[in-house]
C-alpha cells in the first residue's frame, strides 16, 4: 500500500476502504477490548454514529476531526457495523448505511481529483480524470459505463441520471466531480449494507448487548418496526393466511426466489387485506434480485395506482393450482374457491375464539 496517496486522516474520513480494516487489524483490535475502560471512547463514538443515523434527517453521520482522533474514528466504524448487525433491524441497517454513505459523499465532493479516483478505485471502479470539455461543459471524470450502470439503479428514475442523457464515448461516461461523489455514495451504501450481518450478534459480549438494548429502548420510536411485528398493528392477521399465501410469504421473508405469478399472487393478496405498501416493499427486500424502484412500481401497478388503474385481485384457487402454487388444501380450503375468502373466514373465526 506504499504508493497509496491516502493518509491516516483520509482513512478516518472513509473508514469503509480496505486500508481502514488493515489498520484496525494492525492495531490488533478485538471486539472483547470494548469491555476495557480504555476503549470506552470508541464504543461511545460507535454508538454516536448510530444515533446520528437515527436522529438526523436526511440521515448523516457527523464528521468532527477536532472531537475524535483518527484512531477513534477508524475503529469506531467496524464497531458500529457490529452493533447495527446485532440490532437486527432492517430499517436501522438501511438508515445507518445511508447515513455513513451520505457523510462520505459530502466529504468526497471537496476532495482533489486524485483522491476521488483513489477512493473509487478501492471499489474496483475503472475511472480516470481526463478533464475534457464537451460543448461548453467541462467534465472532470470518465467512468466505465458498466460501473456507472451498477450504481444508478436508485437514481435512474431521475431523467438526468439516465445513461441516454449522459455523454458516453468508447465505453466511458463523462461525469462531473459532484456526480462521481454521488455515485460513490451509492456504492458505499451498498457496501456497508452488505457488511451488516445479523449473525454477528453471537460474537458480542453480553455487557455490550445490554448496552445495545438500552440504545434500542431509548430510540424505539426512531426504529420503525420490521414487517412481522407491524403486521398486527395494521390489522393483518398472518395466522389467517391460507397455506398458499403462507408459503409465498415465508419464501419472501427468507429471500427465496418466487416466480412471477407467485409474486403477483402474494402482492395482490397483501394489498387487498390492507397491508401498507412500504411494508410489502420491505418484505421483498431480502430477495437477491431486489430492486426497490421496480418493486414499488409493481406494487403500485397491482394496487391500481399506475397504468390502466385496474386494482388486481389475487388468482382463484384453481388458477393457483394450475401454476403449482397450491401446496395442498386444508379443511377450510376445501370449502372455498378463493384465497381471500379463506382469509376472511379465518379472521372471523379467530376473532370469535379470542372473545
Amino acid at each position: 500500500m506504499e504508493h497509496s496517496i491516502l493518509t491516516l486522516s483520509d482513512i478516518a474520513k472513509y473508514p469503509f476502504i480496505p486500508e481502514a480494516s488493515e489498520y484496525v487489524k494492525r492495531l490488533d483490535f478485538r471486539i472483547e477490548n470494548l469491555l476495557d475502560e480504555n476503549y470506552a471512547p470508541i464504543l461511545d463514538r460507535a454508538e454516536k454514529r448510530i444515533i446520528d443515523a437515527l436522529t438526523t434527517n436526511p440521515p448523516k453521520v457527523s464528521f468532527n476531526p477536532r472531537e475524535y482522533s483518527e484512531d477513534i474514528e477508524i475503529i469506531s466504524f467496524p464497531v458500529a457495523i457490529v452493533l447495527v448487525s446485532a440490532l437486527a433491524n432492517e430499517y436501522v441497517k438501511k438508515r445507518y448505511a445511508l447515513a455513513e454513505a451520505r457523510r462520505a459523499y459530502e466529504l468526497l465532493k471537496e476532495e482533489s481529483e486524485e483522491k476521488i479516483v483513489e477512493v473509487a478505485k478501492k471499489f474496483g471502479w475503472r475511472i480516470r480524470f481526463p478533464g475534457e470539455k464537451i460543448g461548453l461543459v467541462k467534465f472532470d471524470f470518465a467512468l466505465n459505463f458498466i460501473d456507472y450502470l451498477r450504481n444508478i439503479s436508485a437514481l435512474s428514475h431521475e431523467k438526468d441520471w439516465k445513461l441516454v442523457n449522459r455523454p458516453v464515448l468508447r465505453g466511458e461516461v463523462h461525469l462531473s466531480r459532484h456526480d462521481v461523489a454521488r455515485l460513490l455514495q451509492e456504492e458505499a451504501q451498498r457496501y456497508i449494507e452488505a457488511k451488516i450481518d445479523p449473525k454477528a450478534r453471537s460474537l458480542i459480549p453480553e455487557k455490550i448487548i445490554e448496552r445495545l438494548e438500552k440504545l434500542r429502548q431509548a430510540y424505539l420510536d426512531k426504529m420503525r418496526e420490521s414487517p412481522a411485528e407491524s403486521l398486527a398493528s395494521v390489522g393483518v392477521v398472518s395466522d389467517a393466511f391460507p397455506p398458499c399465501i403462507r408459503q409465498l410469504y415465508e419464501a419472501a421473508q427468507s429471500g427465496r426466489h418466487i416466480p412471477h405469478v407467485g409474486r403477483f399472487t402474494l402482492t395482490s393478496f397483501l394489498i387487498k387485506i390492507g397491508m401498507n405498501q412500504d411494508i410489502i416493499v420491505d418484505l421483498f427486500r431480502k430477495s437477491s434480485d431486489f430492486n426497490e424502484r421496480m418493486t414499488r412500481y409493481q406494487i403500485e401497478h397491482i394496487a391500481g395506482e399506475r397504468g390502466s388503474g385496474t386494482k388486481y385481485t389475487p388468482p382463484k384457487c384453481d388458477t393457483l393450482q394450475t401454476h403449482g402454487l397450491c401446496p395442498g388444501m386444508d379443511d377450510l380450503c376445501k370449502r372455498i374457491k378463493h384465497p381471500l375468502t379463506y382469509y376472511l373466514r379465518r379472521t372471523r373465526s379467530l376473532k370469535r375464539k379470542a372473545k
Binding site: 461548453l136 450502470l149 435512474s156 439516465k162 445513461l163 442523457n165 468508447r170 416466480p259
Partner: protein
C-alpha cells in the same frame, strides 16, 4: 393430396442435419446453457435440456430433428433444473431486431392476417383488434421481403455503431447473425456485462432506442452572449447521442414537410419560416448551427424538432428480449422451422455487404413439385420466384421447402 408436408420437411431437415451437423455453432460454456426445442409432431416446446459436450448436442439434434433449436443467453449452474433452481450465473447481452417492429417501405403488404374468431382476412400489419368482431387473436403469415430485411439491417447497423462507438465494445466481441426469418440478432459475450441485472439492461435498451432522452442534456441551452440570450445546440460531429441528435435533426429538416412540422405543434408562422429558409438552415450546420435563425422558434420548439431527429437515429430493437435475462434464442447453424432457412452468423464488420437471402439458404440442389395456394414474389439466392396463386410449380428444393414451411402449399413430388 400428395405426400404429407410435415413428413417431407422432417425428412429434408433430417438430411440437412446429417450432412451439415458441423455447421451448428456450439455456444460458449455449453455445459451452463439451457436448451429448448420444438418438435415437428407435437409442436410443443421442450425446455430445460442441458448438454455437457458439443457432440452430445449435435447427436441429439441429428436424432430428434427438431423444427427449431434454441438456447439460453443465460449461464446456469444447473441448466436442467426448474427455473428458480437453475442458479443464474449471468447472461450475454442480446438484441433482437425484427422487421415486425419497424415501419417499412413495403408497408408489409406481403403479410396477411386472419381473425381466428370471425375469419376476416386482410393484408398488411396485423391490427390490435379485429375491425369486424373486435377479437384480439389472429393467425399471421409474414414474409421475409428484401425491403423488410433491408430496414432491419439499417437498424442493426445503427445498433452496432452505438455498441462500439458509444459503449466501447470491440467489433470482435459483437456476434451478428441473420435470424433465419425477418431480422438480425446481436449478441455481446463479454465478461463485463454477464452480471448486469434487468434494470441495468433496461438502461442499455433505453440508450440504444433513445428512450427518455432530452435535448437539454445534449447541448441545447440558452446562454448569455454579451447583453443577449442566445440558443446553442449540438453539432453534427459531436460524439454519442449529442452528435446523433444533431444529425437526426438535420436529416429530419432535410425532408420535413409542413405536415411533419405541424404534427410537432409548431405555429404556422414558424413552419413557414423554416420551410422558406430550409437551405440556409441546413447550410448553417457548417458553422454555429440553426438555433437562432428562426424567429419565434425557441428552446422548446427546437427541443421537439430534435426529438423527431432522435427517433430517426434510434435503433428499433425488440425491447423485451434484451431485458429478459432468461431468454431462449435460436442457435446459429440451425434451421428456422418457419422458413427452412439457416440462422447464420457473420462478422459484424461485414454487415453492409451481407445478403441474408443468399447466405441463409440451407438446401442446395434438388427439386420439388408443389402446389402453391398463395405466395408473394420472393428471392432466394440469385433467383426470384412467384408470385404464385393456386398453381402447381417445380421449384428448387430451397424455395419449395421455404413455401412448405410457410404453410403456403402442398408437396406433390420430389426427386430428393
Amino acid at each position: 393430396m400428395g405426400m404429407d408436408n410435415q413428413a417431407f420437411i422432417y425428412r429434408m431437415f433430417s438430411k440437412f442435419y446429417n450432412e451439415n451437423i458441423d455447421r451448428i455453432e456450439t455456444p460458449k460454456s455449453i455445459e451452463n446453457r439451457e436448451f429448448g426445442f420444438t418438435i415437428f409432431k407435437e409442436n410443443v416446446m421442450i425446455r430445460h435440456k442441458g448438454f455437457m459436450r458439443a457432440e452430445d448436442l449435435k447427436e441429439f439434434i441429428r436424432k430428434t430433428v427438431p423444427s427449431n433449436v434454441y438456447y439460453s443467453t443465460a449461464y446456469y449452474i444447473m441448466p436442467e433444473a426448474k427455473m428458480d433452481e437453475k442458479g443464474w450465473l449471468g447472461s450475454d447481452l442480446f438484441f433482437d431486431i425484427d422487421a415486425d417492429h419497424m415501419p417499412t417501405e413495403c408497408n408489409k403488404i406481403h403479410d396477411t392476417w386472419t381473425c381466428e374468431k370471425c375469419g376476416l382476412t386482410s393484408n398488411g400489419v396485423t391490427p390490435k383488434k379485429c375491425p369486424r368482431c373486435g377479437s384480439e387473436s389472429f393467425d399471421e403469415k409474414t414474409w421475409p421481403c428484401e425491403k423488410c430485411l433491408e430496414a432491419a439491417k439499417v437498424e442493426t447497423i445503427k445498433l452496432i455503431d452505438m455498441l462500439t462507438g458509444d459503449l466501447g465494445f470491440s467489433i470482435s466481441e459483437i456476434k451478428c447473425s441473420f435470424s433465419g426469418h425477418r431480422g438480425y440478432h446481436i449478441q455481446v459475450e463479454s465478461e463485463e456485462i454477464l452480471k448486469l441485472d434487468s434494470t441495468a439492461r433496461k438502461e442499455i435498451v433505453d440508450y440504444v432506442t433513445g428512450t427518455g432522452i432530452d435535448a437539454i442534456f445534449h447541448g441545447l441551452e440558452l446562454i448569455n452572449y454579451g447583453e443577449a440570450r442566445i440558443l446553442v445546440g449540438p453539432n453534427l460531429d459531436d460524439f454519442g447521442w449529442r452528435g446523433r441528435a444533431a444529425r437526426g435533426t438535420y436529416e429530419f429538416l432535410l425532408k420535413a414537410t409542413a405536415e411533419d412540422l405541424k404534427r410537432l405543434g409548431l405555429k404556422s408562422r414558424v413552419i413557414n419560416e423554416i420551410l422558406a429558409n430550409k437551405n440556409e438552415i441546413l447550410e448553417s450546420w457548417k458553422t454555429s448551427g440553426p438555433w437562432n435563425m428562426v424567429r419565434g422558434l425557441g428552446l422548446n420548439g427546437w427541443r421537439k424538432i430534435i426529438q423527431r431527429g432522435i427517433s430517426l437515429q434510434s435503433a428499433k430493437i425488440d425491447t423485451v428480449v434484451t431485458v429478459d435475462i432468461h431468454r431462449l434464442i435460436r442457435l446459429p447453424g440451425t434451421l428456422h422451422g418457419k422458413t427452412g432457412l439457416l440462422k447464420v452468423s457473420f462478422p459484424a464488420s461485414e454487415i453492409e455487404a451481407f445478403d441474408p437471402l443468399k447466405e441463409a439458404v440451407a438446401f442446395k440442389g434438388g427439386e420439388a413439385k408443389i402446389y402453391v395456394e398463395e405466395a408473394p414474389k420472393f428471392r432466394l439466392g440469385d433467383e426470384d420466384f412467384g408470385p404464385f396463386k393456386k398453381q402447381t410449380v417445380s421449384l428448387p428444393l430451397s424455395a419449395a421447402i421455404f413455401l412448405l414451411c410457410k404453410d403456403a402449399g402442398e408437396v406433390i413430388d420430389s426427386n430428393v
